[in-house]
Symmetry: C2
Subunit: 152 residues, 2 copies
């Protein structure tokens, strides 16, 4: 079994979860396939691979994987939640086109320990993680709307 899947299994165990077939399939899928997938997309992809898994289990176990910190849930305002594997030591955020929904990831986050500590002191919260979404218009959609303006 893949090294990452093995480590993830240990994390599940530590939280009192068994390693079941659906969980293994999800972990393998994320570690070889991808980012920003919806529950339905993961399900469809696994079905196409000929794997046996129920859509209910996909939803249920995505929730488990998010809870133990192996997967991150993100909202891109496109009608469903999307998921991506958490890679230790890696940190990125997303640039989203408000017109077409295209998603680009980027590095170089400006959220720092200083701000986190200030928030903890001022609010009593214990800060755990953060998500940043930058919205804009992609190159293609900019041209698109420029063309339309000229034509009208």
């Amino acid at each position: 079994m893949d090294q990452r899947v093995l480590q993830a299994t240990a994390v599940l165990r530590r939280h009192g979860y068994k390693l079941t077939k659906p969980r293994r399939l999800l972990l393998e899928w994320f570690y070889r396939r991808g980012e920003h997938a919806s529950a339905q997309e993961v399900f469809d992809s696994l079905c196409r691979q000929g794997q046996e898994i129920g859509l209910t289990s996909v939803y249920r176990n995505l929730e488990v994987l998010v809870k133990v910190g192996l997967v991150r849930q993100i909202c891109f305002h496109d009608g469903c939640h999307r998921y991506e594997p958490v890679a230790p030591g890696e940190h990125h955020h997303h640039l989203i086109c408000s017109d077409c929904g295209q998603i680009i990831k980027f590095h170089g986050c400006t959220f720092d320990r200083e701000l986190a500590e200030r928030l903890e002191q001022e609010t009593g919260f214990m800060v755990n993680c953060h998500q940043l979404q930058v919205f804009g218009t992609c190159k293609f959609c900019q041209q698109e709307s420029a063309t339309k303006r000229r034509t009208v």
Copy 2:
């Protein structure tokens, strides 16, 4: 009519929208009531006030207000979209308790023009706005889980 509603009306007109009763009710509601409300909550609150408006119109016009930039849509991962009025010159983000869902707003964002410009150059996007969510555990939920651990 309230000054802010009047200004907002001008924005709507500029974008080719009429000022209808539902739109006026929504604007008035946001400018005197609040932040982080779901469509259903705005609807319920207006009904309790004895106002006549359909839930369909609430959804439809929240979309319009977001499109013209008078209202912001945010996802707090609690099952529905939430909305808050955009106040020019004001800029804040949110600290969310992963346990109980409590939302605290904070100022002092570290997203800067420099990062925005770097993204624009590297991706060709035109950056418009951004949202930052910081997740953690609130004071109450920290105690809660400490107590539970001791009791078990």
